[in-house]
């Protein structure tokens, strides 16, 4: 009997090491395996649940003082959408650029940038954390998203705000190949959309928002990473699911493997 127990333990020890060795030897294969991706999704959900639990009630991201603003705020992704329509708007100071709010709302809205600039505004100096690892601090002025959505009237079933952008991004080389180009978009859930620091910014560091940083409208979701801060926003679509939009993962980078919940 004692022998059987000892042998079981030896098998367990050797089995454990064999399993670990197999895991180490197959990391590249598992990385590309669509079945194993479920493990990663479960981890993302767990991270989101843990952070959301801590972030109740809705905490504000830290706001910095003007002396903390970085001298150079690196633009990333698209530097200029460059389409004829976009260029025409840029020539006219984006006064006629319109933001559409539609989907699961009682009253779809279409507001010009000139109108948005006249609404109550919020200015915040915040930290911008790129998923790549770098940080820049900048001052954003814009219109809070929450009151806009409330004005449009959220319908029952509304869960996410999808931000559609004017830029087409080529992407980065990944998984041994080039990423496919695509129209930039992002999504956040209503908890983030209604957060007081979630704004559509039209001003940056005391000036009008410039083209490399997302003119005329850029989303700021201050408790998430840089790729959530969609630039060149032209439409907010309220949905109950983003499964049928583009790649179905809720954003340009999400469709290319990044986490939808970008709080870490």
């Amino acid at each position: 009997m004692a022998n059987a127990k000892i042998i079981t333990r030896r098998v367990a020890i050797l089995g454990g090491f064999a399993g670990a060795g197999w895991l180490v030897a197959n990391t590249d294969k598992l990385t590309l395996d669509s079945g194993f991706a479920r493990v990663f999704h479960a981890v993302e959900d767990w991270t989101k649940t843990a952070q959301r639990g801590l972030l109740f009630p809705d905490r504000l991201a830290r706001e910095y003082s003007p002396s903390d603003i970085s001298p150079f705020f690196k633009p990333n992704g698209t530097y200029n959408p460059g389409t004829p329509e976009y260029n025409a708007h840029a020539m006219q100071n984006f006064d006629d650029w319109r933001l559409k709010i539609d989907g699961l709302v009682a009253k779809p809205l279409s507001l010009s940038v000139a109108e948005l600039r006249r609404l109550p505004r919020r200015t915040q100096i915040t930290k911008h954390d790129c998923v790549e690892g770098w940080t820049a601090i900048g001052m954003w002025t814009g219109v809070p998203v929450g009151p806009l959505l409330k004005a449009a009237g959220l319908q029952p079933g509304a869960r996410y705000a999808v931000f559609h952008c004017a830029d087409n991004l080529t992407g980065e080389p990944s998984k041994g190949g080039e990423q496919s180009p695509g129209q930039y978009y992002e999504s956040i859930d209503l908890r983030d959309a209604l957060h007081p620091q979630t704004i559509l910014a039209y001003g940056f560091n005391g000036k009008q928002l410039d083209v490399p940083h997302g003119a005329p409208l850029r989303l700021r979701v201050e408790r998430q990473l840089g790729y959530k801060q969609a630039k060149y926003v032209e439409r907010i679509q309220i949905v109950d699911s983003f499964a049928n939009i583009a790649g179905g993962q809720g954003g340009y980078w999400e469709d290319r493997g990044y986490e939808w919940y970008a709080g870490i």
């Binding site: 333990r9 020890i13 670990a20 993302e44 767990w46 998923v131 770098w134 998984k175 493997g257 986490e259």
Partner: protein, 293 residues
Amino acid sequence: MAVSGRKNWLARAWHSAFAPIREPQGFYRHRALVRLTHWINALCILFLLGSGLNIFNAHPHLYWGLYGTDGDKPFFSLDALDTPAGSQGVTQIGPWHFNTTGVLGWSKVDGEFQARGWPDWLTIPSFQDLADARHWHFLFAWILVFNGLAYLIYSLWSRHIQRDIFPTRADIKAIPRSILDHVKLKHPTGHAARRYNVLQKLAYLGVITLIALMVLTGLTMSPGFNAFFPWLLDVFGGRQSARSIHFICASLIVLFVIVHLVEVLLAGPINEIRSMLTGDYRIPQDHHAKDPS
């Protein structure tokens, strides 16, 4: 277990590796939970280092302070630079620059040179992919946290840490002597081998502290966690400082692992590894002492 008949070397090694060792030849040194958490921790560290280096490659610069990006001055970087003689890998530490072509900054992937901070044979996955490296990193970060908590709670509750790892007053006084023993590669025998020496204790306490710092600096890089615990940003001096401390602590953990493995080899690898597998530790005898028999 009887090893009659086929006495090949494998069976003998198997037998001697797993045979129970009892007093007075040896004693039960490592309890099951300590052994299990040790190996899970080792696997976590391996995956976290490999995926961490892949993540680092997405922006192979380190800064100090609240912010830092292209245009700000890094104190450490692994870049590929264009020179008249072609591309070169350049490692920069403060004011110093080193040509590290082929390994750091500019190295071969599938036979072709590529701008890469750390080379493909060090990163998880081997190909450059920030999204997937993050997936591996967070998977093993969570395992590390739960595994580490299990170890800490159990070891504090069973007084393993207080009894075996915390240095005593006598230990502190013995530091110079312990340093001398280590320099001479002299390992304790007999009764002294039943306890950890003071440098060993300090190394174990040190690596526990480093892992705790890794978790805290890692969380400080999370914008979500920042909203909950903004004071951690102050403790580490900003997100970029936290990122740099994260990297420095990882380097110190690598140093610990190297010293740890060298010590296992010097102290007797079979006995040391067995003690972390079955728990049984054979007390090394001093062959220079008079044989009592």
